[in-house]
Amino acid sequence: MSVLVDRDTRVVVQGITGHQGTTHARLMREFGTSVVAGVTPGKGGSSLDGVPVFDSVQESVDRTAANASCIFVPAPFAKDAALEAIDAGIRLLVVVTEHIPFHDMLVMYHYGRAKGARIIGPNCPGIASPGRAKVGIIPNVVFRPGRVGVISRSGTLTYEIVSGIKDHGLGQSTCIGLGGDPVVGTSFVDALPLFEADPDTDVLVMVGEIGGTAEEDGAEYIQSHLSKPVVAYIAGRSAPEGKRMGHAGAIISRGKGTAASKVAALERAGAKVARFPYEIPDLVAQALSEGAGR
């Protein structure tokens, strides 16, 4: 078992004929993922590395039984792409596209919720379970099968940390990059119970950033519902107040949202909080050995 993706995951890549879509469709297949279809309106009937391209998601579902979508289409068209996937019956959407207006994401999120579809992202690296499937863009090289679950709001920092876990001789069960936008389809609170329920995950790594209250909310959930050990890291402890750190998720707002508030909440919840990314692997190894001793 794993979280949200497994060997039965059949991916349709929306925007497959664009540069990113083409590149990552290939990388997903190299990871071992069943990439069964691509969609680019107007390019239906062609194919890419043997993957058939359709004009609509509905056709791709009808013809290839796709059940997950990876969305690379440009921001102005991303909302429509997501709605199309949801209407076609797709129940897992990974939205890689960045710079989607949050007003659009509100529509995507609430529509998806009403229809029972889960969105990961937008502006996210996606989800991967080594040896099973990857939907998204996390570099293949950072993975190795194992029992560490990773949930992160960051992109490249996730790669850094996941890679560090591998370099330490450990491996990952499933890794989700949630994306750091103001409105995300899946937050820490949504993802934590999935890992708690996953028999292949023994320890969780939670990677947060300053801004928003997602980490504090996650900490609350950990405190009241989580039995597995958690190692956490919060990026941005040294960031000055009020300056933008590259995306809207990283504006510090009063009280909650600071690194100090997040670290304190996580420590109260019993998580081990690393001060720097390179401290994470040791803390994970420690949590694993303590768990084995229980």
Binding site: P101, L106, I137, P139, T156, E160, G246, A248
Partner: protein, 377 residues
């Protein structure tokens, strides 16, 4: 994030039927004088600096006038002032209304609930942060079906309105909601919202438009934000670039990794001065431009920390080498590099051939960068 000056916010308010005082924008003392003389701005009037920072009243950036001559004098006094780092270039002149009470309303995004939130308080006219939580009514608003009549009714109750003012609020909130959605706003705030006679009037307007919706709103493209000139250039080139007051330049990709890099540098006594987030580009030209921009900020040393995903290591290496050739000798700086991830081998090799060694671990590379910047300067 595009923060609109008060007068621009009020242009939007007018478009959405939100009641305003009569007023006029002036960019010189003469314009201010004639705005009053022509009758466009009735007397007595208020003359307000169009700056983005708050606290204008206490800061002398708001004055009152009882005649065209007084308006001119007020304009002369305010125009050109430096207010919290912003030069005053525009004024808004408005009639001064007989206010019986000041209220507060705003709509913004509640990230945790993933819903817009309508906030109302009967304690307007002060910074909302200083108002007790219990005096602020908060209501989540579902994008479907949008702001409902019952939510507007509850807001009216929270503001203590009855009679015609209640109907006035109802229409005003309908307009404010429409503005929030149609203009892709992050924040729409009326503070103070004044009770004048039987109705309501928006005395101030704070509107922040979301950057990412620019493709729907080309009209906001030329409005400048509170950026330094280099930040402005970076913005045009779509590079995230922030200037702080340290001396180490940091180039990384992704907000999280950038922040983690700053954290580590600080741990080892470094003072990051400029940081530059390459984001998800895979274009060597953009990498070159970013480096040249960094050179203009004249850092003591630069720390390059890249984890290749969408942005591939060899792309960054190529762009970097290209840029180093273009930097004038006087602007050169010591460079510490760490590149990992997709196409790592190729990238490391390209750097090696240009004489740059990539240090694979974050801790060691950060220490090297701090050392390169030195303790002084």
């Amino acid at each position: 994030m595009v923060k609109l000056a008060e007068w621009r916010g009020k242009q939007l308010f007018r478009k959405y039927g939100i009641p305003l005082p009569r007023g006029e924008v002036a960019r010189s003392a003469d314009e201010a004088e004639s705005a009053v003389r022509s009758g466009a701005v009735p007397l007595p009037c208020v003359v307000k600096a169009q700056v983005l920072a708050g606290g204008r009243g206490k800061g002398g950036a708001v004055r009152f006038a009882n005649s065209a001559a007084e308006a001119k004098a007020a304009a002369e006094a305010i125009l050109g002032l430096e207010f919290k780092g912003e030069r005053v270039r525009e004024l808004l002149l408005e009639e001064k209304l007989p206010i019986s009470k000041e209220l507060y309303v705003s709509i913004t995004l509640d990230r945790a609930r993933r819903l817009p939130i309508l906030m109302s308080s009967a304690q307007g006219g002060v910074e909302i942060e200083s108002v007790d939580d219990s005096a602020i009514d908060r209501q989540s608003v579902d994008p479907f079906p949008g702001l409902t009549a019952y939510e507007r009714r509850r807001a009216a109750g929270a503001l203590g309105l009855s009679g015609p003012a209640r109907g006035s609020l109802d229409r005003l909130l309908e307009g404010l909601w429409k503005l929030f959605v149609e203009e892709d706003a992050e924040l729409v705030e009326i503070n103070p919202l004044a009770i004048v006679g039987d109705g309501l009037v928006a005395l101030d307007a704070k509107v922040i438009i979301e950057d990412d919706a620019g493709f729907r709103h080309p009209e906001y493209a030329e409005i400048r934000d509170d950026r330094t000139p280099l930040e402005e250039i970076a913005r045009e080139k779509e590079i995230a670039f922030v200037q702080l007051d340290g001396n180490i330049g940091v180039i990384a990709n992704g907000a999280g990794l950038t922040m983690a890099t700053l954290d580590v540098l600080q741990e080892f006594g470094g003072r990051p001065g400029v940081f530059l987030d390459l984001g998800g580009t895979d274009d060597p030209k953009k990498v070159t431009e970013a480096f040249l921009l960094m050179a203009q900020a004249r850092p003591k040393a630069v720390f390059l920390n890249i984890f290749g995903g969408v942005t591939k290591c060899d792309t960054v290496a190529r762009g970097l080498v290209e840029a180093m050739a273009k930097v004038p000798p006087t602007d050169r700086f010591p460079l510490v590099a760490r590149i990992r991830g997709n196409n790592e081998k190729e990238g490391v090799e390209i750097l090696r051939q240009a004489g740059i060694i990539s240090i694979p671990t974050l801790r060691e590379s950060a220490q090297a960068a701090v050392a390169a910047a030195g303790s002084g300067a």
